[in-house]
Subunit: 333 residues, 2 copies
DNA sequence: TTGAAAGCGCTAACAC
DNA sequence: GTGTTAGCGCTTTCAA
């Protein structure tokens, strides 16, 4: 593979000149440039990115750390990140953390040794202190779905509490008289906020009790389990707000298995807006996040910072909207 | 961030020595080593991977090129690849090609400039010539789901035709008298093979006609569309073998919408074995591939080759097995 | 067992 | 406008 030296030699110029035409900076004579370009073509020369990275400490690579790509939410998110990165000539490394902090820690170590230009952090077990470490290393960071006190990194999230309120209001509006909540793991801020939104709406209603809140791990099986426990404890429940779509899908399965009709006997609403909510029967009402936009914004903003186009850290809260589908399509009042 | 020089200086040795203890090669005195190690700890020194890569032309990074991560099949596959890579200290770059050959071409260019150690190619629009180019560049390659004449790269695939035969036999065994096939895009070898498997079984049956084969793009909407066309042309169809699970899900939706009962009136079988086949109602019978194993094998084998543990190219054909579920659970004969 | 020094391929300050 | 050259941080001969 040809090097910059080969090009320089053959074009009868110095490597500096070649470098200049490559990077379009500094003055260079039109003729010289043309000659160099010609040689580049002839030799099918491609600059060696690694050497470049070593020289200027930029790799053109960002990393995306997420819990697991198996969750469709993160599939879509990472698709957005990769599309956006590609559009800016960046490459993305992807990391499944399973929300394990040791793993996240290891990744960060590896990534900084690799001169990764920036990190999008969509996994949340790492404490602020650890994130601070990344910042000290001067590596730009965008975190998803967190609220950070310390201001040195950008945050993008959805209006979780508001979305949850929309969901519960909708369930009530369609006639539910007792609405339960299947909650995600409370270590996660998204799960907390959605629970809070649920509480906001129901806390003063006379039928509300704490036992209407069940843990569901943000997973299909978690959703199933929660429904089983729920129906046993509260046979009169007629509305369920699941903290994410996977749990809603699990809930739907469990209800079906127990012979409980959705939406006739129990209305069901999820959160996230993953494509699979349209795969079930009935289709699932859900509070949709702007998943793709979230990923795209995160990536583009990160790259802006990497490239020094901005040094503003961003704190964005994206809208959510209720998509009404069969799982809540009942009588209206 | 400390460099190898800092360590050398502080430990009172040369950088060469530090390098030796780092890489555990060459002779180095026990005491010296201890001293160096101590300094490394003190300085919290981490070797710079980029510099290392430049020096020895290995980056510890592999790339995974796939059509799109939004297809759950590839989510699981990439999860396997990343897990396996991580277990060997490798990092993975991921690329959504949308099966666009220009995009694949671009990726390959970028990747080789980045000194990527190896590529797993799960997207198949690129011709063999292009793949040959990669080989000439000496970069190890594992392709998924192809049959290549030219032997310089490893191939891993599933027994697609056999799986298809299993599917159709199963449909017939459960009482279907007229089985249609929703086929994937015929540029893809997997789609071809599954169609071939279908043909193998039905070609001599008296009810068979070409119009029982419908294109479905390997997508949900494709599956829906195919079913609509199918029911119109062949109202008496009572079995459908979809070339992948997404199409099967789409088919199920369409059948439901048309008021056709599954499995009572039409039995339905998919292919792939993605998790979502358990999310529908009824759950989908499917020919399951060993998706995770496929990804894991690909990654581990690739890394073996990168590290020179083997120079054998591999040609593996993984088993598939039928998972019988509600969508075909009818009378048996 | 250790060190000096020549790369790996490119960038960028500095000189002409 | 263009060339020289000193890095970027590490590996690896080759001598000592």
């Amino acid at each position: 593979m040809a090097t910059i030296r080969d090009v320089a030699q053959r074009a009868g110029v110095s490597v500096a000149t070649v470098s200049r035409v490559l990077n379009q900076n500094g003055y260079v004579n039109q003729d010289t440039e043309a000659r160099v370009m010609k040689v580049i073509k002839e030799l099918d020369y491609r600059p060696n990115t690694v050497a470049r990275s070593l020289a200027n400490r930029k790799t053109g690579t960002i990393a995306l750390i997420l819990p697991t790509i198996m969750n469709p939410f993160f599939s879509e998110l990472s698709r957005a990140v990769e599309d956006s990165a590609r559009s800016r000539g960046f490459t993305v490394i992807f990391c499944n953390s399973d929300d394990l902090d040791t793993r996240e820690q290891t990744y960060i170590d590896v990534l900084r040794q690799k001169y990764i230009d920036g990190i999008i952090f969509a996994s949340s077990s790492l404490g602020e202190e650890d994130l601070a470490v990344i910042n000290e290393n001067g590596i730009p960071l965008v975190v998803l779905d967190r609220a950070l006190r310390e201001g040195n990194c950008s945050v993008i999230r959805s209006k979780n509490a508001e979305g949850a309120r929309k969901a519960v209001h909708h369930l009530l509006a369609t006639g539910c008289r007792k609405v339960a909540h299947i909650a995600g793991p409370q270590e996660l801020i998204t799960a907390q906020e959605r629970l809070r939104g649920y509480r906001d709406v129901v806390k003063d209603l006379d039928w509300f009790e704490e036992s209407l809140i069940l843990p569901g791990q943000f997973s299909i099986t978690g959703g199933k389990g929660a429904v089983q426990a729920l129906v046993e404890a509260h046979p009169d429940v007629d509305g369920i707000f699941a903290g994410n779509d996977l749990m809603a899908i699990g809930a739907l399965k469990a209800l079906h298995r127990m012979g409980i009709k959705v939406p006739e006997e129990v209305s069901l609403c999820g959160f996230d807006g993953i494509g699979a909510t349209e795969w079930t029967e009935p289709e699932l009402t859900t509070v949709a996040q702007l998943i793709y936009e979230m990923g795209a914004r995160a990536a583009l903003h990160l790259i802006d910072r990497v490239q020094g186009y901005t040094d503003q850290v961003e704190d964005l809260e994206l809208d959510v909207h209720l998509i009404e589908r069969g799982s809540t399509r009942r009588r209206k009042y």
